[in-house]
């Protein structure tokens, strides 16, 4: 029997009164891709931070290749062969790709960098990943996200990694880039690197992982071979109960046109978008990252400039506008970027919920704190937000609960047209289902919904109609029954039919 590459036994960790980990066992074999699965808050991040040296465990043992392993800090862990690629890319945007790959480990003598050696190491690292075409001198910020991720992986691999931890590596990648990443993961596996793969996308785990371990509430509750286990079983392990329906559908009828875009074009992107959205309709927009989906929503909401084309609200043309006017017209936007745009992280839940419409809680500009709390509490109950109360700051909540607050703001505003940009990005299965149900309820009550997503199963599961954007153009919207995952991908990369 082989010695496992990594063995964690009965790992415990508390933060104050919070027990983040209550006994986790994890075993990863050499050259294995191991999926670490669990809802947000299940303890995945804490476990990986312990492994990469950012936190120390309270109790429990960790062995690397049979020897005790207790890294004092992330750099030590990296030198021992455990490297982590974080969910948010950890690159310095202004520095070049070469500088980023060797950041903190520059080959040097008396403080002087040996540029030739640095270049050779960086070029070699990219070549090993079969990406020698990436320009070493370009600043990282000028390259697409997928390439930035390759750079991040190259950086992790510099020090002869034995264990590579990938936290949600595909959350900002398109399908094509995801497939490329999987090729890369398989190549690393053949080289004997063990990979711990953390993802909310179970279908992806099934594609690329050999075995899995499920965490729930800080405990490891199950482990097994990916190929021999059904997704339903894994989901049951994750949530501790059966989720009867991943894509709950509510019956809803389509009404009159609520929003019409006619050859809408912005600066650069989008180039031409034509669609018409009816009341009670959920219209999905699929496409690769960079196809111009987010920009379409932003132009439509008045956040970005409209260069040409027309926007019709109900039956009046209102092309040029600002967000405040759009909100008055009953249009709301859910940003794809919760942290930087969607929410005020250091403000209370109540303020975040009511930021667009203090009206019901205020009189002559003065806010009635009690009414404000009541209104917020009612919304929190409706959205099943797990929080201490309306005064808690949003930044302290988990991703799923944060997203519910962002959606709650549109609910409170009572917007008639909702522009939702990646509403389920980076949140757990349970919260996802709640958000799908909420979207269904809103459609049933006659709201019109534009739903942008990179996750095809949810688009196919939730929407009535789907349009695919390719290189800034969206022209054809078809009923969901006429689409398959395959045909959507084909349309997205421009190989329609």
């Amino acid at each position: 029997m082989t010695i496992p590459r990594l063995r964690m036994r009965a790992v415990h960790k508390s933060f104050g009164a919070t027990k983040a980990l209550r006994g986790v066992d994890l075993e990863v074999l050499p050259g294995e891709v191991h999926a670490l699965i669990g809802e947000n808050g299940a303890g995945k991040s804490t476990l990986m931070k312990i492994l990469s040296g950012a936190h120390a465990p309270d109790s429990g043992t960790i062995e690397l290749d049979g020897k005790p392993f207790s890294p004092a800090n992330p750099l030590r862990a990296r030198h021992s062969g455990v490297a982590m690629i974080y969910q948010e890319l950890n690159l310095v945007p202004h520095l070049s790709i070469e500088e980023n790959i060797l950041l903190g480990e520059e080959p040097s003598r008396f403080g002087w960098i040996n540029r030739a050696r640095r270049r050779a190491i960086a070029a070699n690292a990219l070549a090993e990943l079969n990406h020698e075409s990436i320009p070493l001198d370009a600043p990282v910020s000028s390259r697409p996200v997928a390439e930035q991720q390759i750079v991040e992986i190259a950086r992790a691999l510099i020090g002869e990694s034995k264990v590579l931890i990938m936290d949600e590596p595909t959350s900002s990648l398109t399908d094509v880039d995801t497939q490329n990443l999987f090729l890369l993961i398989r190549r690393l596996r053949e080289k004997g690197v063990s990979i711990i793969y953390i993802s909310h996308f179970l279908e992806e785990c099934q594609q690329v992982c050999d075995r899995f371990t499920v965490l729930r509430d800080g405990e490891s509750v199950g482990t097994g071979l990916m190929s021999e286990t059904s997704l339903q079983h894994i989901i049951r392990l994750m949530v501790g109960r059966e989720i009867e329906d991943t894509y709950p559908r509510q019956p809803h009828t389509l009404g009159e046109t609520a929003l019409k875009l006619e050859n809408l074009a912005g600066r650069g992107k989008p180039r031409s978008v034509t669609l018409s959205l009816r009341k009670g309709e959920i219209l999905g927009i699929a496409g690769l990252i960079g196809a111009g989906r987010t920009e379409t929503l932003r132009a439509c909401f008045g956040l970005d400039q409209v260069e040409s084309g027309k926007v019709w609200i109900e039956s009046t043309e209102r092309t040029r506008s600002t967000p405040s006017e759009r909100l008055k017209d009953g249009i709301g936007l859910l940003s794809e970027n919760r942290k930087e745009e969607g929410l005020m992280l250091n403000r209370s839940l109540a303020d975040n919920l009511t930021a667009t419409r203090y009206g019901p809680a205020a009189r002559l500009g003065f806010i009635n704190s009690r009414r404000h709390r009541e209104i917020s509490l009612r919304l929190m109950e409706q959205l099943e937000v797990k929080a201490q109360g309306p005064d808690q700051t949003v930044g302290e909540l988990s991703g799923g609960n944060q997203q519910k607050i962002a959606l709650g703001r549109l609910l409170h505003h009572d917007a008639d047209v909702l522009l939702l940009d990646e509403p389920t990005r980076g949140i757990d299965v349970g919260s996802k289902v709640q958000i799908y149900r909420l979207i269904g309820q809103m459609a049933a009550s006659g709201k019109a919904i534009l739903f942008v997503s990179s996750y095809l199963p949810e688009l196919l599961g939730v929407c009535d109609t789907i349009g695919v954007m390719c290189r800034g153009v969206l022209s054809e919207v078809r009923p969901v029954s006429e689409w398959t995952e395959h045909s959507i991908i084909a349309a997205a990369i421009g190989h329609a039919n």
Partner: protein
């Protein structure tokens, strides 16, 4: 991130502590100077007795007993009503400036032109009095002079999407130059008028009556606290400072809001200039150099973050008081000016450092 499981009561206690925090700081500073002055009193008494070594210890113990009847001149002078009256009067200008500055800093901005604006408006006021305008007109125009500069700051920052730091740094020079120009590069002696009464100290040996300026500052502080905490306008100020992108997404007219914020703050700075004029009874174009830094320090000691989104009027007012007490106490101790500067510097770093430490612990819990 670990899910927080703190109970409702402990979060209430935490909130209470957050509110009381600045008060503790204030109390600490007062008690600290009290102890220092007490020790100094005893030591000066001992030097008088000429006791040393163990005898000194005995003497100290005895002198504490002796001093029960109360001849601690330093300590008594410090905690007397008359001294606190002086402290309050010394606080007024920084406090009124801090009312405007709190709003600006909460919105994520900064204003470096305050010292110059105070000088400019005091010169404007003095000149108007010399030209025999009525006191009412003078007061109005002096405040409006500050408001006008604030409006220009706001329009430039919002209109040209420029950094507040740069715009107000430029305005710092412009306003100072204007003040010197209007004053003909010398002080303007204003004739006696009602304006002088605003900050005049009557009955210097007792706490009451306080000059009208102190009451005006206190009333404005209450008003601003309500506006910033309880109005939609105030929430929008916080929203812009917390996350400008979100504010725009939520339909807040960020640019016009910023113009308004700087213009209102300018009115406060104009009023601070009026107070300056009243206190000196003359318009001095070289007065209040570096005042903006004192004001920013007061706001920051009061718990505001320079990155915006947090801060409170109560905290800033206590911050202003702490600054005045530090100055006053150091004077009473007979410390030279340079010691005061060093101590105030240390206090600013300590106060903000403690705040960060507390926030970190709050997040971890």
């Amino acid at each position: 991130m670990p899910r927080s499981v703190t109970t409702g009561t402990s979060s209430k206690i935490r909130r209470l502590l957050n509110i009381l925090g600045p008060f503790f700081g204030l109390l600490l500073v007062v008690v600290l100077f009290g102890i220092l002055l007490y020790v100094q009193d005893i030591r000066s008494e001992m030097e008088f007795d000429g006791a040393t070594g163990f005898n000194a210890f005995v003497e100290t113990a005895r002198s504490i007993e002796l001093k029960e009847d109360g001849t601690f001149p330093g300590l008594k002078a410090f905690i007397s009503g008359a001294n606190f009256k002086i402290i309050f009067i010394q606080t007024v200008i920084v406090a009124i400036g801090a009312l405007g500055m709190t709003m600006i800093i909460v919105s994520g901005g900064i204003d470096l032109s305050v010292g110059s604006v105070v000088a400019l408006s005091s010169v404007v006021g003095a000149t108007l009095l010399v030209k025999e305008f009525s006191p009412a007109t003078t007061i109005l125009l002096t405040i409006l002079a500050g408001g006008g500069i604030g409006l220009i700051n706001g329009l430039t920052i919002a209109g040209l999407r420029m950094m507040p730091f740069i715009v107000t740094l430029g305005m710092m020079g412009i306003a100072r130059g204007l003040a010197k120009w209007i004053a003909g590069n010398q002080t303007v002696n204003s004739p006696p008028s009602v304006v002088n009464a605003i900050m005049a100290m009557n009955e210097p040996m007792q706490f009451f009556p306080l000059p009208p300026g102190v009451w005006i500052a206190a009333l404005l502080a209450v008003g601003m606290a309500v506006i910033i905490r309880q109005t939609v306008f105030g929430r929008h100020v916080f929203a812009i400072g917390s996350n400008e992108n979100t504010a725009r997404l939520c339909g807040i007219r960020v640019r016009s809001q910023k113009v308004l914020i700087y213009a209102i703050a300018g009115l406060f700075f104009g009023l601070a200039g009026l107070m300056q004029l009243s206190r000196l009874t003359q318009g001095d174009p070289t007065v209040a150099i570096g005042l903006e830094l004192d004001i920013i320090a007061a706001v920051v000691i009061g718990g505001a973050s320079l990155s915006g989104g947090t801060g409170s009027i109560l905290g800033s007012m206590i911050g202003a008081l702490i600054m005045a007490i530090l100055r006053n106490g150091s004077n009473q101790m007979g410390w030279p000016n340079y010691m005061q500067e060093i101590i105030i510097g240390i206090v600013i770093i300590l106060a903000v450092g403690l705040d960060r430490f507390r926030q970190k612990r709050n997040q971890a819990a």
